[in-house]
Amino acid sequence: MARTRFAADRGLVSRMLVVMFLLGLLYVVFVGALLAVNIAWQLIIIVVGGFFLIQFFASDRIALFAMHGRVVTPEEAPELHAIVDRLCAMSNTPKPKVAIADSDVPNAFATGRSQKRAVVCATTGIMRRLDAEELEGVLAHEMSHVAHHDVAVMTIASFLGVLAGFITRIAFYSEMFGGGGYNRRGRNDQNTAMIAFFVMIVSAVVYAVSFLLIRALSRYRELSADRAGALLTGRPSSLASALQKVTGAMGQIPTRDLRSAEAFNAFFFTPALAKGASLSSLFSTHPSLERRLQQLAEISRELGEGR
């Protein structure tokens, strides 16, 4: 069967997860190392804060650039604009920029820190696979992300994780040296090294916990966006069928595209990972398909009930 040729590389998924974790850990260790060699903590705050601000204020451009998304005019993509227009009129929100990414991976994402700066982007792959109602459901999901300020919330949340590690360290740091000169003299080098090691362990644990929490937060917000989107269009079943189509087709996509798409999973409609990958649900940024379909079925039942 042709499909098995493009079977998802499960190892890749776990490796990428490890890399993401290590990247974050590196960030924390880096800050710690800077502190340990007695660089002024003001400078560290400037560096850390700088990264944060860039992430926060340039998120729309970064994501669009990385996905090769192109902002399109109503003349270039009349159908897509018409759907977004109607959703905006239904929800009374300012119209976001509309972009198309030329990729066969069926996906859509929203980015931008505020409603005014928001960009909603769909890939050509998802527009080809879904019909108008399903595409509308997907775009309603993305516009709910915008309405919930999810880019800002998730950026701040990830930053809090880093900050937690940072603060832990400052606390131990001032404990070590805070007692004044006599205290510092009173300890030998070995003791200091022990404490420094202990500090590393604690901040690593803090970071690990925040890593899990941020993922849980992301899953919760995905469900919220599903819910708000389904209520906006009044058609949870269209979104459910879109989800099934998109996730079903995911496994057939060549892995090269998946790899380049992975960095931007956080605001994707469905993560660009094959379904059935051996990931515990604890680590995933999106809820399982079953969980999402279950919620949409509940909304559908509520809508069908008498007044």
């Binding site: 109607r86 009129a89 239904m90 929800s91 009374n92 917000r221 919220s224 819910r227 058609r235 949870p236």
Partner: protein, 191 residues
């Protein structure tokens, strides 16, 4: 939407604002006196049908309610975006009666809890020289805007005419001040 709603990700569908629809009859007079545009006596309500039996039942009730009087029956059209257009016909002179019928659709949907499903109402006007323009009422903002498609297959708007109408009607009804909300409704029934 409040800060907490945003933080907890629980936005709710926006409620529809129905009352300002009744500004239409006086606007229709201004349209005729000031610009030479007359109403054809048609008007339509556009909404997104929710799935499930409850909405279907409400829809049938609305249709029966409007068909109860003599005169032409209402027409249901489904467009390519999955929205339903409910077209109501009246005498060309009876704009108040038309607006009353349109409002009956709104209030029935709202009473059944489907107010958020309302998208817009549209009343087309025609000039003797063949130009057409629609006054579109946005339920979620409670404002009107003009939509003037140019004749022909290309999807182009007569922006000059739209701006002219905006100025003429400013004292009659609330015209949407944010031009970004003047979204086109190509191929709307009756236009």
């Amino acid at each position: 939407m409040g800060f907490l709603d945003s933080l907890l990700g629980r936005s709710k569908p926006v409620k529809a604002d129905l009352d300002d629809l009744f500004a239409l009859p006086s606007a229709a007079i201004t349209m005729q006196a000031g610009l030479g545009f007359t109403s054809s006596g048609q008007g339509s309500v556009c909404y997104k049908p929710a799935e499930g039996a409850a909405f279907a039942r409400t829809e049938t009730e609305v249709q029966e309610l409007l068909d109860a009087d003599q005169g032409p029956k209402v027409e249901l059209t489904k467009d390519t975006y999955g929205f339903t257009w409910l077209l109501v016909r009246h005498d060309a002179s009876d704009v108040p009666g038309l607006v009353t019928d349109l409002h009956a659709v709104n209030s029935s949907l709202q009473a059944a809890g489907f107010g958020p499903a309302l998208l817009c109402s549209m009343v087309p006007f025609q000039h003797s020289d063949g130009r057409r323009v629609a006054l579109v009422y946005l339920y979620k903002r409670g404002t009107f805007y003009p939509f003037a498609p140019l004749p022909g297959a290309t999807q182009k708007r007569d922006n000059a005419l739209e701006i002219e109408i905006q100025g003429t009607l400013a004292s009659d009804l609330k015209v949407e001040p944010d031009l970004a909300h003047w979204f086109p409704i190509w191929g709307a029934p009756g236009l």
